[in-house]
Subunit: 176 residues, 6 copies
């Protein structure tokens, strides 16, 4: 807080309204996950405060693919709808849960996890992170969408080139 | 995550349902703040994860008195209703904001802050903390409700004994 | 210590003489606490060293009002005179002690605490902090001297507007 | 180091010889990666020292599949042979390098990375970690070998059930 | 502070009076440094508070030999008398200062430093550390008083065996 | 990893080849220790990654004199030859070991330690540190090569001026 008083800073600096956009105005139906991040980049007042939020809106049958956050645990709270969630620990054990609105689940630091909206109506969750910059590593996109050599992937996934190329075709982002 | 796989632990260990209690079943009208904490004590899976939640339910005209959290910043998200909030930095400057549902405000680490529901309907907020054990120091109760000597308080607040005793009478918890 | 050798830095950079001012030359009698801080701002060599000092000079009957240090514990050593001290833990329990010259007391991180010189002669203390920038939140000044809304304060302290306004009048600093 | 002197501890406690096993006595040819960890679990003297080693022996054409270390960066040093390595940052960019004996490469904290021995002779590497317990999340095994629901995986990898089941069959460890 | 309120703990737990012993009652004249430590071991309330004190009493012409503190910087305050102090940075540059009563000097973390009372009267200093367990590595005693091989020492100090043995004889503690 | 993708950075940034220089091309015989550091200064990609390496090449009968690393433990792995090593804990106890190629030894944070190649052939070691900037304090050079006052050194090492001056003559670097 050094020097804040001497700058022209007001309560607005400590306020974030970027989550309002999902308050009912989205053009439904839609299929893709919406993830709005209130992290240090979007909300600079979080710098040094070791906390941030992400709002997740899941259309029906939408999956948030397996991913990790390199710098924080995630504490997910279900605002609306229902979610099936899971994570895998470093010993290779899967932990799953079916969550209803009002429930909370913690994904420990750095482990692979996913969320899935099995239901017919949208699900909305608020996730808190113990870092202002938790980061996200999307597993399918990182592994099959970034140009890693086919031999490396075929050997890693114990599969054939044809399968690797099929997965790459599906997961590589189109050129901009 | 050492050894979790070898214990009889399931996804339930990572799940917290203690916030369901406020999903509509509270006997309204009521006057006092309800604060339900999903911290390390209530939800042991948070141990080592550096994140926790508190759910705050404010009846109409209810104030959460000036307080500090010794071990974390607070990132408050308004779920329902509206809240007027403020904090004071170490240079003695007050920052305030009027928040609507969907808005977020960060109270920096260790600073005195409050929330107030000016409205006629209840307000509900979810606060995330960058610690699994943020702690709370309630200022009025700590100062006037714990037996600090009258002379110390009168001098500190630059007031008379009569005022100190009046505040103590109001803020000292009844004997159990 | 990167590059210090290549700069024109001598032992003077690591020396602080700002506490000499209280070595007997103060115009007594006086009534207010003198607090001289050897923190990172006053003594830049402390940057990154996680330690700092404050020298406290208490005239007779002087109180250091309830306050917190957001970023460090305080380890107070009584150099001269006697002090009555106390702090309140997060469970609302008050811990007090009467200290003589040569005694030491630790105020744990982030908790509300105060010191009081009951005696007829000045008391002098040296406080060490486990941070180069511990910060100070003066409770009476933060709460009643910064313009927090009267309604918030009346409800928080369970008192009336008249009492709030009286405390505000006493504790609001005069305009500069 | 509290109390070490008072226990019956000698220099042996601070010594680890578990890497000798790979000094030339392995039954070649073989196909699988050998990873010997000198972490806190194998070498208790590392407790609190924030550093550990893993020795990696790659037979010809062997891949260390995409994985992350939740708690540390990895600094890999090639002792013998050659390795092709890569990692993906959180923005989805792939960084690759071909390393010869004597070269070093850093895989930043928490990011997905792999190593591959393209050569015809074995490659040996020593990896240092800035944690005594860096942990490892093997991506193919975590995602396809732990029982995550087929629907979640098919949607995440934008593929069909048949491909998911084929990958699961290849990557699920046999029951013990 | 978890649970302190539920234990039979009073303000005495947070008080340390071990420094009173040097308040004038020592049998002067004497020649050796007196160092009384208020660290976590002597004063358990410091556990987790990241701060501690040492009181140093220097008879005339007494030296505190070159030493390091592995876990903290030292902030020395001269209470009485005068001290000549110095430290060496990692680039091999010596920083020195002559301190009078009321002066302060910071010895940065982990660097070799010493203090010397040149004067004819005793000097007393209070040193604060940014750790509850800073530790001390006395250089002469560690190097010449612990049985390190003569060859290692002769080569390290670029000297002969006779000099090494003379230093060992002077610095090795007598058997208990 | 903020913004790396937007800069013109490739895998080369994460690669360090500075250790190749010792791959057989040094003009033997020689007498002095060669220490090549892959720390943050030499290899900027280590910034923030909390890990670094030093390669140590010991000619026959060469000693790495007693020294400390202020900011990290050292995990030494013997690549070739043999080394006798030791460290002294804060209680003044010496721990020693004779290491062969393939062995590992941990020198705990901040303690005085040394290595010695007793053998007739060169020894090579790789040391990992749990910091990107561990720092090194060479004890003989810091104490006798930086100009510390003769009186301080004579008293500290309980010896005479003649011995101090002899050691200073041997250990003071020649003027540049």
């Amino acid at each position: 807080m050094y020097g804040i008083a001497s700058m022209n800073i007001t309560g607005d600096f400590f306020t974030y309204t970027g989550f309002r956009v999902t308050n009912g105005t989205l053009p439904w139906p839609r299929r893709n996950l919406i993830a709005i991040k209130a992290n240090m980049e979007a909300f600079p007042a979080l710098n040094g405060q070791s906390v941030s939020y992400t709002k997740l809106v899941f259309p029906s049958e939408c999956v948030n693919p397996p991913h990790t956050h390199p710098r924080a645990a995630e504490l997910l709270f279900v605002l609306n709808g229902a979610l099936s969630v899971g994570f895998v620990d470093t010993a290779g054990k899967l932990y799953t849960q079916d969550l209803s609105a009002g429930d909370m689940f913690v994904f420990p630091k750095g482990l692979v996890h996913y969320q899935y909206n099995l239901g017919q109506s949208p699900a909305i969750a608020l996730s808190a992170f113990g870092s202002a910059a938790p980061g996200t590593v999307n597993v399918p996109a990182s592994v099959f969408g970034t140009g890693i050599d086919n031999v490396v992937l075929a050997k890693s996934f114990k599969t054939d080139f044809w399968t690797v190329q099929k997965l790459k075709a599906a997961l590589t982002p189109p050129p901009k």
